[in-house]
Symmetry: C2
Subunit: 334 residues, 2 copies
């Protein structure tokens, strides 16, 4: 059987390009004892992937040169050998990488139920982005009723869930996103109280207008100038959740540090980083809660699905040029 896959062929400086990945075909070897073969249906595209490509100390080792590009995935077990964690016919989600077939011991995979939710939901709201949103806003952001919550990347996979959870918890929520379509999505479909279009508005004026009393929690997915704008408006004891800095991931020069960070002192604020992998033991509880909210119509999740594993690079660009709505997913076979 032939396996098509995207290998990391060199570490990009700045934005990945044609030399970053190589698309190869390989004949699969027969399974070894204890291995499973997963036919992958979808892979997840997440901003964090850019960080995994850098050869620097981080929360997980970088993807090695010549290795399959790391990615979350969902698929179906079609073959097993010997004593295995899953059986043929199981649907599973895990770190299958950007390839058609995963072969291995299934370590890090979990069984998912395609009847319970669309399988792509396990890459989005019930997967890493959803878990990031859930634990980030509740445990790191420590939101409480009446808080003013600002979230950047508010129409994205993480931000859209952050804002909706904050609404469920009785907060006032303002989202920042690029373009009128995303802004309308936040206020009209997701129920946010306000939206700031960073591509067409001055973000500082926007925050001033929407948050006249200041911000209690800022959930940051983007870094850069928007983080600095938020810092201007934090209230006493505000919490800033550092979830990502998508504006900085493809920098060729140094990251832009938040020049307004001394606002943390004046306002006794905190800025705290998070890595979702720390919450794995609590995922099942969170998934249960999120599913309930979805069933009740309080939580909506949208996937933006593109097709063809050969189109991985072009799809990847959408993470950074903003040309997607909600969770970006690649369907392996058209």
């Amino acid at each position: 059987m032939i396996n098509k896959k995207q290998l990391l062929s060199e570490r990009p400086k700045g934005m990945p390009n044609e030399s970053t990945w190589s698309f190869v075909e390989e004949t699969l070897a027969p399974l070894k004892e204890g291995e499973i073969l997963v036919e992958q249906s979808h892979v997840s595209l997440d901003p964090a992937m850019r960080g995994w490509m850098n050869d620097s100390r981080s929360y997980i080792p970088p993807v090695g040169i010549g290795e399959v590009m790391r990615a979350g995935s969902v698929g179906k077990v079609i073959e097993t050998k010997g004593d295995t964690k899953f059986k043929v016919g199981d649907y599973v989600s895990g770190w299958g990488g950007v390839q058609q077939y995963y072969v291995g011991d299934g370590n890090g995979f979990v069984k998912v139920d395609p009847n319970w939710a669309d399988i792509t939901k396990y890459l989005g709201v019930l997967g890493m982005p959803g878990m990031t949103a859930y634990f980030g806003i509740l445990e790191v952001g420590e939101i409480k009723t009446g808080d003013v919550v600002l979230v950047s990347g508010g129409a994205g996979a993480v931000g859209s869930v952050v804002g909706q959870i904050a609404k469920i918890k009785g907060c006032r929520v303002i989202g920042i996103a690029g373009g009128p379509e995303k802004c309308a999505h936040m206020t009209e479909e997701l129920g946010f109280d306000g939206a700031i279009d960073y591509k067409n508005e001055n973000v500082i004026s926007g925050i001033k207008q929407h948050c006249p009393e200041g911000i209690d929690v800022y959930f940051d997915n983007v870094g850069g100038d928007i983080l600095d704008a938020a810092l201007i408006f934090i209230r006493k004891n505000a919490r800033i959740v550092i979830c990502g800095a998508i504006s900085q991931y493809n920098n060729k020069t140094a990251v832009q540090g938040p020049k307004n960070y001394m606002s943390l002192l004046v306002n006794r604020g905190s800025m705290k980083g998070m890595v979702v992998l720390d919450y794995v033991p609590k995922y099942s509880d969170a998934m249960k809660q999120m599913s309930q909210w979805m069933a009740e119509g309080k939580l909506k999740a949208k996937e933006d699905v593109y097709e063809g594993i050969e189109n991985f690079r072009d799809t990847f660009y959408r993470l950074f040029n903003g040309d997607k709505m909600g969770k970006l997913v690649l369907k392996i076979k058209p």
Copy 2:
């Protein structure tokens, strides 16, 4: 009676200069009902004063143009009128400003005991800097036995106390300061485990050498490149206490934001600001504890006293050029 005083005459851009303050003499009016007259012996010089001169939103209003320069002070009540908070002969500490005599209702002043400690100690280890150190390292830094604690401005009024408290609590303490004399002071007199001389050493190499396993708590008094160096070496769940950013206070351009702040994400670290005024209700407990440590010889405090209220500006510069050791104090009369 003549009162000599330093008024803020214009808001400096960058470092204060000859036009920043005006030194004036004024005849004191007779006391009004409820007022006290304090003959001030010493005023405190603290980096925070630079912030109070800027016309920007902060934790206290800026000093007004034409007003006496705000400063902590100690002195003796020499006259009162009517029903007053203090009586003649009382030694008091409060916000007397940079002047010979304070006249007012004594709001914000506390009685101090010159037999209990040298009166200048109430501007240092038993005053604002000491309280900042105490609550900053214990309540914001949340140190515990075995933590590796890095402190910048380690030979200064706040940093020297931070490091000694961390030692008392069983931490490993590395101080950063400028010049061999200050470094020797930290390791030989204050008992720090190591010292990094930022004027003569590469700080990144220094931290690497002294903290091979990384840093649990970084107490930041300076900001700039040293904050960025510390961020490189934080361990999982590290706390960064933002107490000040002396390297940035006289900037004419934008503050240098910490470009390595994404290390907070990777290491699940937090960066938290503090303002000592929040802890006023707990000052007396802290002073009692600090006095006990001093009596036991575990806590040493050094004041660097200069003389003459007319020399205020030249003395003020020492805060920023590093030409002082320990708490900077100005004795009003030579």
